[in-house]
């Protein structure tokens, strides 16, 4: 109860802060380029290809896993800055 109380308290605080910002249900349109439509259609086409050529799907999921690693790396570097462990 205390744990979930604490979590709920955080959520309430964050919810109150973020309630000031608008709800995002679509990606923006920049210079007439509808990013949301492009990605929706693009991913739909990829999924159509993947449904037939499953090897592409396996490679794509491997790519996503690799990108997840690099994303985590970037986030760690963002928070730790120069204290980030490196192999240089």
């Amino acid at each position: 109860m205390i744990t979930i109380l604490f979590l709920n308290f955080l959520v309430v605080i964050l919810g109150a802060i973020f309630s000031l910002f608008p709800v995002i249900d679509k990606l923006p349109v920049l210079f007439g380029f509808d990013i949301d439509t492009a990605i929706v259609n693009g991913m739909g086409s990829l999924q159509a290809l993947f449904s037939t050529f499953w090897i592409l799907q396996d490679i794509f999921y491997g790519f996503l896993a690799l990108m997840t690693y690099y994303t985590i790396k970037v986030v760690i570097k963002f928070f730790l800055g120069s204290r980030t462990p490196t192999n240089d």
Partner: protein
């Protein structure tokens, strides 16, 4: 910039995949085709596009696939609006099972069913009159009612209406406009059809699937202890104002001498969500928003029935609490409810639109009850009794109650976090991107058409249908099977592909962490 270029030069795989994805995205924007992001539920739609030999609509509802389990009975809600109670309004609702989606097959009204379909459920005949909405029980076709039907998740199921009485044309009268509709004779027109526009809102809705109902309450001796039988609104219900409250309790005659108090109250939980539950039942700190509907002593044994007239409530989240308690120090009082409680139950319900804080409060309360409710409690007071140092103290339950949130409880909190934070600027952009990428829905690939001018006046065009090509390629790939084990090419090869991809990913990550590829470059540079 130089470092970025130097880094990318070492990652040709990433560049190749990223360029491919970018190309597909740009191409897709240019192609301007639409993907259905949301699949509509099939149990609320009906189809009248099929016509019988007289050109009139046949009412069919497609349920789709995915049904499973053994079913001994089926409740189906049937509605035909704008009907009067005149005439013989007997129809029969039936269910068919098909190998493929029957929507794509022309409905053969004279032959009975589309190709690849067969009747699996024979609906009981029922009358349609002024009461246009009814529940019926369907029986397995051609067998006794107790025979169960095993749904096949891969099969397609659909409801359809047909006449229920031999060769007699059945008439369903319409509204005051004297439009009318017929249900066809089962022999000449196997299928229902209606003329005019009076049947505005027919629907065949699957409302319940009792799977092999076990021997229920009728097999058990009646509970003659003092207990709560039921109270409304039900837990988790969403209702509209005004709200009707009901309470049904049973009082054992032997308990009357102990002065039994019965209490039913509710409160709005949109405020004080963090503290009100924990102070509830401690005298003057009782929730100030409590509204007591009934708080009285039982003077007779047997059923105790209480029902209010409707109560107008504002939108929000509410919790109703029903309590049966003995007297404490000769007094029945809500302040001591947690000491003399015989039984206490809570329901949470929503009036109109729930609130953000109310949702969090309801989720937390529900999940806390889920942890301990199986043994002792369905109420906050009873939950807290595990930490009561005077009586009922249990250190394990108390510590668990205080510190260990249920996984679903955390999940609900995360859901609230997602709704309140992750969908809003700026994180909402990331959430939207992830939801698009993780959505398995497909787009129809575009078709290329090239116009060729042949001479001064003649011309022709060449069309390349990517969707058709890829579908054909997929069929070809799937048709290749191992002659010894019957496995498809995918089943044989995909494990090796996955292993290869996984090894590539792991090696790339390991090389990046250890810096082994950098060492190689240094050696080369030197």
């Amino acid at each position: 910039m130089y470092k970025i270029r130097q880094y990318l030069e070492k990652q040709p795989l990433i560049i190749a995949v990223a360029v491919s994805i970018l190309a597909v995205l740009v191409f897709s924007l240019w192609a301007r085709h639409v993907r259905a992001d949301i699949q509509q539920p099939t149990d609320s739609a009906y189809d009248i596009s099929n016509r019988n030999s007289s050109g009139q609509a046949v009412y069919i509802q497609y349920l789709g696939t995915g049904f499973s389990g053994d079913v001994a009975g089926l409740e189906v809600e049937v509605g035909l609006d704008n009907l009067s109670d005149s005439g013989t309004n007997v129809v029969s609702l039936n269910m068919i099972q098909c190998d493929s989606a029957p929507a794509s097959i022309s409905w053969d009204v004279t032959g009975g069913y589309p190709a690849g379909c067969g009747q699996v459920w024979d609906g009981q005949s029922f009358s349609i009159g002024a009461t246009y909405k009814t529940l019926i029980t369907m029986n397995t076709y051609g067998a006794v009612a107790s025979t169960t039907l095993t749904f096949n998740p891969a099969k397609h199921y659909a409801f359809y209406l047909r006449g229920a009485q031999g060769s007699i044309p059945l008439r369903i009268y319409g509204s005051a406009t004297q439009n009318y509709a017929y249900v066809a004779d089962a022999h000449t027109q196997d299928g229902a059809f209606f003329s005019g526009t009076t049947l505005a809102n027919p629907y065949f809705k699957l409302v319940g699937v009792p799977v092999n109902p076990p021997c229920g309450s009728e097999c058990e001796p009646p509970d003659t202890t003092t207990h709560i039988v039921s109270f409304d609104p039900q837990d988790g219900a969403t209702t509209t104002s005004p709200v009707t409250f009901n309470f049904h309790a049973y009082i054992n005659p032997a308990d009357l001498g102990n002065v039994i108090g019965i209490r039913l109250g509710f409160h709005n939980i949109n405020q004080n969500t963090l503290f009100s539950d924990h102070f509830e039942g401690i005298g003057t700190l009782d929730d100030p928003y409590d509204i007591i509907l009934v708080n009285q002593q039982a003077t007779t044994s047997g059923d105790f029935i209480f029902s209010t007239s409707t109560v107008a409530l504002a939108d929000g989240n509410y919790r109703i609490e029903a309590t049966i308690q003995r007297s404490v120090f000769g007094v029945v009082d809500s302040s001591f409810a947690h000491l003399g409680v015989i039984q206490q139950q809570s329901h949470q319900f929503i009036v109109g639109q729930e609130t953000f804080i109310g949702h969090i409060s309801q989720s937390s309360f529900t999940e806390a009850n889920a942890i301990f409710g199986s043994s002792t409690a369905t109420s906050t007071s009873a939950l807290a009794s595990s930490c009561n140092p005077i009586s009922g103290f249990n250190v394990t339950n108390c510590l668990a109650f205080l510190f260990i949130p249920d996984s679903k409880q955390v999940k609900d909190t995360m859901t609230s976090f997602q709704n309140g934070v992750l969908t809003r600027f700026p994180i909402g952009y990331v959430t939207r991107f992830v939801s698009i990428v993780s959505n398995p829905a497909t787009s129809t690939l575009p078709t290329f058409t090239v116009n060729l001018q042949l001479g001064a006046t003649a011309s022709t065009s060449l069309t390349f249908d990517m969707q058709d090509t890829i579908t054909g390629a997929g069929s070809l790939l799937d048709s290749i099977t191992d002659p010894f084990h019957g496995k498809t090419l995918r089943e044989v090869v995909e494990p090796f592909v996955l292993l290869f991809v996984a090894l590539l990913v792991i090696l790339n990550i390991v090389a990046d962490i250890t810096g082994s590829h950098k060492g190689g470059n240094k050696h080369k540079d030197s």
